[in-house]
Symmetry: C2
Subunit: 410 residues, 2 copies
């Protein structure tokens, strides 16, 4: 079990050990919100834009309930304007009485905003494209038209006593002066949050840091994963002062999706362990991922952080030896935080005798180190010829021990 070897090496506090023992301090300066970040969970909005998604009302209610129990601050739903059932489902979820606040995500126009308010949501997330690409090819509006409409819609939503967020779309390909002018105007109009979205998934951590640090107040961020940076960008945004991060379970969304809830938890439980462990019910993660995966008919990716089938499997001899002495050597996350366990594999040609020794002891045999090296060579020999099943190595150990006993008898 973790931490039984050495109190200072308890992996449940490994992140603290890192901060204390190296010059690479956790980023905890005046901008950073790593100890207070909030999650806007969008499996029921962005996730509905995933190619495979079709949610029944029952699925939506179950997903929303699980996410609320997990501890996310907000749950975002598909626009009620999308279809009649989307409208009904939005109303139904608002009436569930969940701990999480319910949002819906609509285009920045009066008609959509009215429908949203009708549904009884706690907040309305307004969005409009601000890059030259989207202004030219999507809605055709100038920045001045965007500003004018935004102010009217914001005033309306606020007059109904409902929270309102205003987000640009494709923010990282928008002109910075345009963006800041617009954010200043909507801030003055009293929005609760502004949103920054890497809609095409092209932003880098440095681009994120540079943009987010220019903003103040409640800032929500949304990162697509087309270039594999959605988790790091979310972390960097929080370091730069963002207060809220959008996620979806397994990252499902348009194209290959957005920051996954689980991978963000992996990142933040290392960067900000106390806050993350106290705020989120981490042991629910696997059940939530499995339920959503079954709803949208995908498998959990083999290489998924935390819940991938081998995320806590150790194979090379040199790794296995050290992990058996102290799990912190090759694990930055304690699997038990997520209700999971580690596995040390000895069934391959790259195993080592220290790992085999541990298995020999588990099986109750007393072999000398030289004998263990001999049986390790036999395992490697078979591992050179074919893939080994979990019990193959055990069979070789049993057989080796038997031949030793017979030799003694003889």
């Amino acid at each position: 079990m973790c931490g039984t070897n050495n109190a200072t090496a308890d992996p449940t506090t490994a992140a603290h050990t890192i901060s204390a023992s190296t010059p690479y301090q956790r980023v905890d300066d005046f901008l950073s919100n790593v100890g207070s970040y909030k999650i806007i969970e969008s499996t029921l909005r962005e996730g509905e834009q995933f190619s495979n998604s079709f949610y029944t009302t029952e699925m939506k209610c179950k997903i929303a309930t699980m996410l609320s129990d997990f501890g996310v601050d907000y749950i975002e739903l598909t626009s009620p304007v999308s279809s009649p059932q989307s409208y009904e489902d939005c109303k139904t979820i608002c009436k569930l009485g969940l701990k999480s606040k319910i949002l819906t995500h609509v285009r920045c126009n009066m008609e959509d905003a009215k429908k949203a308010v009708e549904c009884g949501v706690d907040g309305v997330d307004l969005v409009i494209g601000t890059s030259s690409f989207l202004r030219e090819y999507s809605h055709g509006k100038s920045m001045e038209m965007i500003r004018k409409t935004a102010l009217e819609v914001i005033e309306y939503v606020k007059s109904k006593g409902v929270e309102v967020r205003f987000s640009s779309e494709d923010s990282f390909r928008s002109d910075l002066v345009d963006l800041l002018t617009l954010y200043k105007a909507v801030d003055k109009a009293g929005v609760n949050r502004v949103g920054v979205a890497d809609t095409v998934g092209g932003a880098t951590p440095r681009m994120v840091y540079d943009l987010i640090r220019t903003l103040r107040g409640e800032v929500e961020t949304h990162f697509h994963d087309d270039t594999g940076c959605a988790v790091a960008n979310a972390l960097t945004a929080i370091e730069a002062g963002a207060t809220h991060v959008d996620t979806s379970v397994l990252g499902i969304g348009e194209r290959n999706g957005i920051t996954p809830l689980g991978a963000l938890m992996a990142r933040m439980v290392v960067t900000s362990p106390e806050y993350t462990k106290s705020k989120y019910n981490l042991k629910m993660l696997k059940d939530i991922e499995e339920y959503v995966a079954s709803c949208v008919q995908v498998n959990i990716p083999f290489n998924n952080p935390i819940t991938g089938f081998c995320a806590f499997t150790h194979k090379a001899g040199i790794h296995a030896k050290a992990i058996l002495a102290n799990p912190s050597t090759y694990e930055i996350i304690d699997p038990s935080l997520f209700g999971l366990t580690r596995y040390v594999s000895i069934t391959s040609r790259i195993t080592g005798w220290n790992a085999v020794k541990s298995r020999v002891q588990q099986l109750g045999y007393s072999l000398t180190d030289d004998q263990i090296k001999e049986v390790t060579a036999k395992i490697k020999q078979m591992g050179d010829i074919r893939p080994l099943a979990v019990d193959d190595a055990d069979s070789i150990i049993h057989s080796y021990n038997l031949s030793l006993q017979q030799a003694t008898v003889a």
Copy 2:
């Protein structure tokens, strides 16, 4: 096809457009190597540490050949000390005459180094744990002992006319002064590269930038993906002056693996399009991933960058409308660079009439905008009830058109 609508919006040059039109410049300062980074491909070393890996000699040769044809600079192999077959395979691959240089990765001791040189490799990658965790629980050596052994082994490898890299392990939990002292010593001894490894996958982009920018010369970096940052960390390392990045196909390796080759290509084709397109044979990526996936018996993750089944699928009405007008609106990567195509889905309740209009035109019907809005409502109506197959929307369009014709006749 991409770019036929507007010359300035050609997605094959989208990254340049970003740099030119926003203040968030590509990081291209004096430290950055984004225009000259090299790949050390470790599917045959780190990848053999993946839980499911068992490679036959034939598989190893085929993978090495594909990676060489793809254009990676180095191919790294499992230590020949691991098993007799590992030794034989290392010799075999060295004799293939590939364009890529062949490396093997061994513990920093004389016995391992001699075996490596015997095999005929172009270079030997030496590694030893330098964090207090690994020094205490893995090999038990002091920094002084590490330095002394390293210098002897480096001298030996160089005397044989073979390239040598010296890497610390668990670098981000090692003491900075210890690390720099050691790197200075091995640099003086004439190593070709030093290596920095985030062995436990806990590093963040800022930690990476802070460490890598202190180093000069050839610097190789190795990032595990336990906290979802392996791609962003690799980019950040290159921005901070790293010259080489370790990858494996689909990221396979210990636990949930390292920086995936494909995701790194997605990142770098956006950050440094000209260099990446000219150096790497991007159209081979899908075949390489599929072959390696079949060798280690996994599926391509549904959300994989570039080759995930829906990486270029657009679903929400607002996205579909814009992508049909100009693909750069919602695509940062042109799928044709990788020999792939995009797909615009209209089979859901969140589709929009502009997307349906495009499909109506593809089917050869002439409907008015009002008629298209009516048929869109019918598609949404069915999309509210059940998941739609690709041809369901077509059936609804055919049926609607037929009823229009019959009404005209009547």
